[in-house]
Amino acid sequence: MSATYAMYQEQILDHYKNPRNKGTLRDATLRARESNPLCGDEIALYLVVDGKDRISDVRFDGEGCAISQASASMLTEMIKGKTLAQARAVREEDILKAVGIPLSAVRTKCAILSLHVLGLALTSPKES
């Protein structure tokens, strides 16, 4: 089995088939949605932020390839329970490291779509 199959079978495939924190949050404080028109990947993020600027709950929803959906699932695990400042500090490299294998330029866009959506959510107007 080559590296790519291994990747698909372990990390990515696990998160793709059993996504963590999948769904929507009606009482989200921050939310954003974005798609990658190249392939139609779509990710929406819902964050509930408590009075101490902590992300007490998070959900993602979306459709698309294994890389985009699995990395979104991974991202929710990375930011759940963290402060907004900590969430803001998540970098592209962190996502790619979590994904764990080298990706082509096109597939990198799939992997970081959810991070892009997080950026949008963090700058979106807060809902009470």
């Binding site: 698909y8 079978q9 028109p37 190249l38 392939c39 139609g40 990947d41 390839c65 890389i67 096109v106």
Partner: protein, 415 residues
């Protein structure tokens, strides 16, 4: 009645002409199934381009010296070859552009925006067009207040021909259609559509990017007014495209680019245009590209386009048969290969097209995944994307078998 002997291609011999096919990708022999995006190039085309730069590079048309005459002779020779290939009435009906996209934009601008179209006129397209046959008409609509209408697509991927009855009216000025869909492979009845357009005095504009490389195309038999295609999808270089136009409509059309070559006389305040087709070729053209395209036309002519077509029908039929045996793989488009070109789009249960393409890539198999620049068609089928394999003269059943093996691996991973 005895069946006519089938004309076939000698694929092993053809493959020897394509240096890139000797390459290994990821330590595996390359299986190139993305010719609908761009074809590979035979050494005859590569050498023709290189020969121009090596032996007789000069600008065309006005040089007095020998090199310039040779360059002009070859450049115009390429135009003659293309005219012959399409069965155009004269080489002057062939305009060199950079691509299908530029060709359609030239019509939209020179015939539409700068031409005689006026507010309330109507343009009839289809839902299955490539973006390059949607967006230029959006420009015309926005600039001139034209009404745009679109013929729908059936579940099996054919045009809803009966819709033309209502959509084509006295106000229709342009009817435009792809001869072959780049996603579904559907071959559309262009001749009939052109006839309907002409009944109301409209012109018929054909996107032939996926047809001219793959089947015999006779512009006089189709009776279309404009027909656009690219060199790079038909074994030729990138950066060279063609707009065929009937002499009369070309003469009515305004140029897009003003500058050198396209003029007869220039004064400080005004200018008059050169003859057709030169008035559309402002600036130094892609001389090497045109010469390379001429070599591609020679190559295809030698193979015979009816043989190319027969070969692709056979491969597509084989691929469809094999794909149908895979559970959870869903091909799009008509089943009868007499009505479709060598394009096979499909979806798979549980595997997104990008993931399919990534896994096939590991196997050295090149396919395309995404919306194929046909988002309105994707919306019609409610699909975010498809995977697409497309065939050409250098593909054979071994390539299809490798594809099927690859798809089995995808199924293992995503089962």
């Amino acid at each position: 009645m005895a069946r006519a002997a089938k004309v076939l291609l000698n694929v092993p011999a053809i493959r020897k002409d394509f240096p890139i096919l000797l390459r290994k990708v990821r330590d595996k022999p390359i299986v190139y199934l993305d010719s609908a995006a761009t074809s590979q190039k035979p050494k005859q085309v590569i050498e023709a381009e290189s020969d121009f730069y090596t032996r007789y590079n000069a600008n065309v048309h006005r040089a007095i010296y020998e090199l310039g005459e040779e360059a002009t002779r070859e450049y115009e020779g390429a135009r003659e070859k293309v005219a012959g290939f399409l069965h155009a009435k004269a080489p002057s009906e062939i305009v060199f552009t950079k691509s299908t996209t530029e060709s359609i934009n030239l019509v939209a601008y020179g015939w539409g925006i700068k031409g005689k179209l006026k507010e309330g006129d109507e343009i009839v397209g289809t839902v299955m067009e490539h973006h390059s046959n949607h967006v230029p008409w959006h420009f015309v609509r926005d600039y001139k207040g034209i009404v745009l209408k679109h013929v729908g697509v059936t579940d099996d991927g054919r045009l809803k021909m009966e819709e033309y009855e209502d959509l084509i009216t006295k106000r229709t000025k342009v009817v435009t259609v792809a001869q072959v869909s780049n996603v579904l492979g559907t071959i559309n009845p262009v001749r009939e559509i052109a006839k309907r357009a002409h009944e109301v005095g409209a012109i018929c504009v054909v996107d032939a990017a996926q047809s001219v490389p793959h089947m015999p195309v006779d512009v006089q038999a189709l009776d279309c007014d404009f027909l656009a295609f690219s060199g790079h999808k038909m074994l030729g270089p990138t950066g060279i495209g063609v707009l065929y136009g009937k002499q009369g409509v070309l003469e009515e059309m305004e140029p897009l680019l003003g500058g050198g070559e396209m003029i007869r006389e220039v004064h400080l305040g005004h200018a008059s245009w050169n003859d057709v087709p030169y008035k559309f070729e402002g600036g130094t053209p892609n001389i090497a590209g045109a010469i390379g395209l001429g070599a591609a036309v020679d190559y295809l002519t030698k193979l015979r386009m009816d043989a190319v077509r027969a070969h692709e029908m056979e491969l597509t039929a084989y691929a469809l048969e094999q794909v149908h045996r895979l559970k959870g793989v869903h091909p799009l488009g008509v089943e009868d290969v007499s009505g479709r070109g060598g394009v096979l789009s499909f979806t798979m249960d549980h595997a997104h097209p990008h993931d399919i393409a990534s896994i096939l890539d590991v196997e050295g198999i090149c396919i395309r995944s995404g919306h194929h620049c046909a988002q309105p068609l994707m919306e019609r089928f409610n699909l975010p994307a498809t995977a697409r394999a497309s065939f050409y003269v250098y593909n054979d059943v071994d390539d299809v078998d490798r594809l099927i093996q690859g798809l089995r691996k995808v199924m293992e991973v995503f089962a």
